[in-house]
């Protein structure tokens, strides 16, 4: 953590306000480019929603940013640092949390271990957990329960708690609302906007749930066939219309 705090101001002259910046990003699997020429700028402290239908490359985009897939072309900057070609763990350690959509928890580990793993011994678990325990009262009581036995909603809470535990500068979240009860969606929404407000965390949401995304985000982009085809403020009038056009059948 401390290193990123030191290094971030040094590069602040060039990209002081930008938490995440993609330039002409291209990546994919095997012979296919799933992401073709993606350009994106996310301001610090904002919540940014990336919308798109299935198979348009949303998950691939996050994986590429996280270094889990190689960048084939273009570049990615996070908090001013050029992270192109970095191994995943280095990206994480400069202040990024990633919440994957599938197989996102270690089913056989208990809740406490799932949380501790994200800290990697870099900070005291008790201290950090105390900081977020208020947001996730259920988890505090279940630290020793095996994570795989949590309900779907509780697992999502675990994901969010794990993401917030490290005090990240930037959180990338892949479809946290999928398959959730409305009450839990509301809870997740509260936790994330709290993080953004209280700590100034930048959040990038990949979503299909437009209502959830729009309730949280200040800006949105629509991803179609690996390209950003629309972008704008969520508050604007044309936003709903544009999203409906691109996202429904």
């Amino acid at each position: 953590m401390s290193t990123s705090q030191k290094s971030a101001p040094a590069k602040a002259e060039t990209a002081s306000d930008i938490a995440l910046c993609l330039r002409g990003l291209r990546s994919g699997y095997g012979g296919i480019d799933v992401i073709r020429e993606a350009n994106l700028e996310v301001r610090k402290g904002g919540i940014y929603a990336i919308l798109g239908k299935n198979g348009m490359g949303k998950t691939t985009l996050l994986k590429t940013i996280m270094g889990l897939l190689p960048i084939r072309d273009g570049s990615a900057h996070i908090l001013g640092a050029d992270i192109t070609g970095w191994p995943t763990y280095r990206i994480v350690r400069c202040g990024v949390s990633y919440v994957p959509q599938e197989q996102a928890i270690f089913q056989d580990l208990n809740v406490g271990e799932n949380l501790r793993i994200a800290l990697g011994g870099r900070a005291s678990f008790k201290e950090r957990f105390a900081g977020i325990a208020g947001l996730f009262p259920v988890l505090g009581q279940r630290l020793h329960q095996v994570a795989g036995t949590l309900s779907g909603g509780e697992q999502k809470m675990l994901l969010l708690a794990r993401a917030l535990l490290t005090n990240p500068k930037l959180i990338l979240i892949d479809e946290i609302s999928e398959g959730l009860q409305p009450a839990i969606v509301g809870h997740a929404q509260a936790a994330l906007s709290n993080a953004c407000r209280e700590r100034g965390t930048t959040i990038v949401l990949v979503e299909q749930n437009v209502r959830f995304a729009f309730a949280l985000a200040d800006r949105y982009a629509i991803l179609n066939l690996g390209e950003i085809i629309a972008e704008g403020e969520t508050g604007s009038d044309e936003a709903i219309e544009s999203v409906s056009r691109h996202l429904t059948l």
Partner: protein
Amino acid sequence: MDLAAWSPDTPRRLSVAKVLALTACGIGVILISSALLGVYDAQILSQAFFFAVVAIAVDLQWGYTGILSWGQSAFFGIGVYGVAIASAHYGGGAPIAILGATIAAALAAFVAGGAGWLSFWDGAPPFFVAIVTFAIPVVFTQVILSGGTYTGASSGLPFPTPNLAPWQWYRISGCLLVLVAIAAYVFTKSDAGRILVAIRENEDRCRYLGIRTARWKIGLMAACAVLSAVAGTLYAEYATVAATSYGDFVFGTELVIWTALGGRGTLIGPILGTIFINYISAVLGGSLPFLWLLIIGLIFVFVVIYLPSGFYPFLQQWASRRLPIPGRPFRGLLSSPQPEASGRPAGTDTRSLSPSLPAARGSMPRALAERAVVLHIREVQKSYGSLHVLRNISFDIHRGEVVGIVGPNGAGKTTLVRCISDGREYSAGDIAVSGRSTRSLSAQECVSLGVGRKFQTPSVFDALSVADCLHIARSFRKPPSLWRSGSHLALPLPALRIAELTGLFSQLHVPASHLAHGTKQALELAMVLALEPTILLLDEPTAGLTRAERTAVGSLLAVLAKEHNISVLLIEHDVDFVRTVCDRLVVLHMGEILLDGTVSDVVESEVVRSVYLGEAVGGT
């Protein structure tokens, strides 16, 4: 089903004359060299020739089929002991020896088949066969050692043998090697040999082409065991004594090392590797036994890391860089007997076909109700423990109907396709294809009922040519020959259409790995259509395609359904695509059917709209 046949001028094809010439050439070299060699060299080379026969068996399994067999020595040993025990205990003479050899070969086949059965269960990791075969020589050695005077235990078992001169043995072993090598060469070039490579390249695709891969692998292991045992029986006559070192674990690993160093999957590489290393070690190993082994070990590690395909392919490449050989011109297909297709040049631009087809969808030739139900799904469930991925899925697909499955991520679309293509996947309910239940049938059996599945990412056999890939797709209709390579390719009309429309015919001899992504997709589709399926399952057929290619695929599907009456079930996200192609849509949401209706029903549905926008659905 209409079939159209071609005789593409296959460069791979072997002529009888070529085989005979090669054989004559090989035997000639052996006979001439036998007159020139000293006795000692003849002795060493005879032994190396016998070992090289076993190395061929290792190569056929490992290099061609991907079965790493550490224990081939045990089968050689079984052959050695079969003859030795028969001759030592039941009287000498050729008939007894031949009887012993036959029993040994049968035993070897049985043991190898058993090892194969133990190794090839669904989902067994590829290294598991290596572990099982690793154990065979250990068991073999133990059995021989505890056999007392019957097996000779550790002393070895001497027995009466014909007294032949060294150069006679040189000729016998040399001719055996030449014949086995040529036979193996013909086999690898045959239809069956092609299937082995296909299994190595992509076993899953083979399964969904109806090829019983486990049976092929077990059969190959048994056949190679017989080959090794036969080499062992002859070697026993040469060595005059049976000893455990002919079947032990060390010899087994040496065979793998020789094969790896020579170049697996080349036949000639392992043969040369075996002969070369045996010869050098006879000369050098005598004075520096430990250092020699150390050097072999170091070279082996180096080759595994930096030259994984071995020395022979490396030298071949090096030589071909030095002496460039002019590329062979394409000799693709120029015409097809289909009247509507003839005259259209190979490699037609796929886009040129598309416009006329969507319009044709409007006029259905027959009413839906009249058409037979091809796929009948009733109350299908799929659960992992308490987690239900699919619940209560029921719908029918009729002949010639194109049905799309849509739904947000995690709805269970791919799981449903998997359940339809493999009867062992679903936990409850029933799926029937053309009236026959697929319950607990394997993927291969589902293929024979008429299910053809195309994977999402193109799944073809990268090392094989387009023509070979298509050949393999046809092999389940006709048992492949062990020695002939099919000179003509008989494809059902739909497959032919695809191949022709997408320009595959101009690339028949191009390795599949060199194809563009879209052409690969087309190849896989053509392969699946070659199975003559009644129901075609497609998982995101347009993923990774350009817009133009999407349109082309859409029109192809329309042709398949309309003109060839193939039913299609496809998973798709692209609404424009779905709109133009599908007769009906089934919307899945959280493992259940949300809606089953026409395209316009679905597009106009508020419920579907809210699901897609992520709004809670009516409290369900």
